[in-house]
Symmetry: C2
């Protein structure tokens, strides 16, 4: 189980190797949304996403013996780069199973850190099957993208910094939810370091398995009909209970709402975020009445977009 001390130790462990990312505010977006927004810019994080935190904490938590034969994982992108970077830092190989339709920019990132890519069909089953093979062949240690307490604790350090640096007591913190690593870590960080703050998650309508899991009380399988390519996975048996017990609400948004939120952040805040990252702000714009007048922290999760594709999305050259 993750305690206050687990989170503090995780933060101490990774602090020298990550950016303490800035919190940006925008009068324009505050006016538009009717609340006070504090954007924690993990798009500026190492490897361009919060995933640097969890992978690093997990890899550094393994003994030299445990990680001697390398690290293996599956990921559609950011976790893949994060594991490749962490493995290189400790001098062991990284074996990364990636769906063959993962964005080229993310594959390039993995290769730049010396990671070895194994391409598979873009289904959860295909990923897991190939990962099993890779683990058997290599004897590498598994660092799962979200269903791992060391990863969850690492991701929670983003919210911990947001709480420490915002300069105000936040009423709400929002994250996107895919496999639930960031959301679980955020829920625990809030529980220990900012009790009273609510946590709300945003999820794409086309991949609303976390929302459905809350309704049904069990882990529902993911669909994959959304441009938010970082949020296609279902919850895990470690993330689901934390989310079920602590999250205030999960709100779903359409792809059109995600693109509009992304465009607003690019134009008004002058920062580049990926579609998955725009989901919490899309949630605020959709459910304005829930956030009216509140101090709202948003974890901007990442900025690794294919520039050409993102530009076409936002300038409506593709739907």
């Amino acid at each position: 189980m993750i305690t206050r001390e687990t989170l503090e130790q995780a933060h101490d462990r990774i602090r020298p190797y990550i950016h303490r990312t800035p919190i940006l505010t925008s009068t324009g977006l505050d006016e538009l949304s009717g609340c006070s927004l504090y954007f924690k810019c993990e798009n500026f994080q190492k490897i361009g996403a919060f995933k640097a935190r969890g992978a690093l904490n997990a890899v550094l938590s393994l003994s030299a013996e445990q990680r001697a034969k390398g690290i293996a994982t599956h990921s559609s992108g950011n976790h893949a780069q994060a594991v490749a970077r962490a493995a290189r830092m400790v001098g062991v190989p990284a074996f990364i199973v990636m769906p063959k339709n993962a964005p080229e920019i993310k594959k390039t990132g993995v290769r730049a850190y010396g990671g070895q890519i194994f391409e598979c069909e873009p289904t959860t089953e295909a990923r897991e099957r190939m990962l099993d093979d890779v683990l058997k062949q290599t004897g590498a240690a598994l660092v799962h993208p979200f269903n791992d307490y060391a990863v969850i604790a690492g991701q929670g350090t983003a919210a911990k910094e947001l709480i420490e640096d915002a300069g105000v007591k936040l009423d709400v913190i929002l994250t996107p939810v895919g496999g639930g690593g960031l959301l679980s870590g955020t829920l625990l960080a809030v529980k220990f370091f900012s009790p009273g703050t609510e946590v709300v998650a945003g999820e794409p309508e086309g991949s609303d398995d976390a929302w459905r899991s809350l309704q049904s009380g069990k882990i529902e399988p993911a669909q994959s009909q959304t441009i938010a390519d970082g949020l296609l996975t279902s919850l895990g048996d470690k993330t689901f209970p934390i989310i079920r017990d602590h999250v205030k609400e999960i709100i779903t948004v359409t792809d059109a709402e995600i693109v509009e939120a992304m465009r607003l952040i690019w134009e008004r805040m002058k920062i580049i975020i990926e579609p998955s990252c725009a989901v919490p702000f899309a949630t605020v714009l959709k459910a304005k009445e829930k956030f009216a007048g509140k101090k709202v922290g948003i974890i901007l999760s990442g900025g690794n977009v294919d520039l050409e594709r993102a530009c076409k999305l936002m300038t409506r050259q593709i739907p």
Copy 2:
């Protein structure tokens, strides 16, 4: 003349109304350029550019009587928004002469702050003629975009913050040069607060009047063949002597080099900058040997781009 105290007072005057913008670093861009880069992110400044500083200092330095009939200026964009915002803050009208081909995003910004736009032909002569008319008609006070000591002092506060916040002694600071307000202010801030640091300016080849002015020893007229739409003006009689006496060097770059530098900053740093703003980084990439191993501060001057046009530039849909 601008003294150390002038700069300190300017900073105190405007500090409550501007962002203290963050300094970002990027391991990837350091590796690519062979030096240590400290990017002062004025693209996150109020109105999306450092111009918020100078206009504010100038408007706040006027007496209530001097500014009672409003503020007038001419500008291709960012200074226009900055004056409109400053005028609204002190409750007087803003009269802005803008070339009719100024980017729509900048006109929209001026109107959003309640500024009244007078469109003119895109030549220095047309601008100045129309501004003369506006000044006569309205009795407004002039806040020139760069040839004004209060504006120069205000722009210098960006470099002052960069010097204070970088955490290291910078070997060089780079800015772009158009009319020379930012460059002059930076030169004075360095003179007073970081003697020994060199200042280098980047300029588009297609509008290299500042470079030619240094060669000839007098103010040369501007051309206007560049995508860097913020850098089309020639130097003024207040900025030229400061630049002539203090700048280490002006280096020119092509539009292709500017676009490549812009794309790298978007992709690697996840921030949005306008073409003019990419000129100093393009300069570093072009003249790597001059900056090798040095600690290099770069003032990222602004982020107000037409997203569609910028996307097309970077994805090579337009040359």
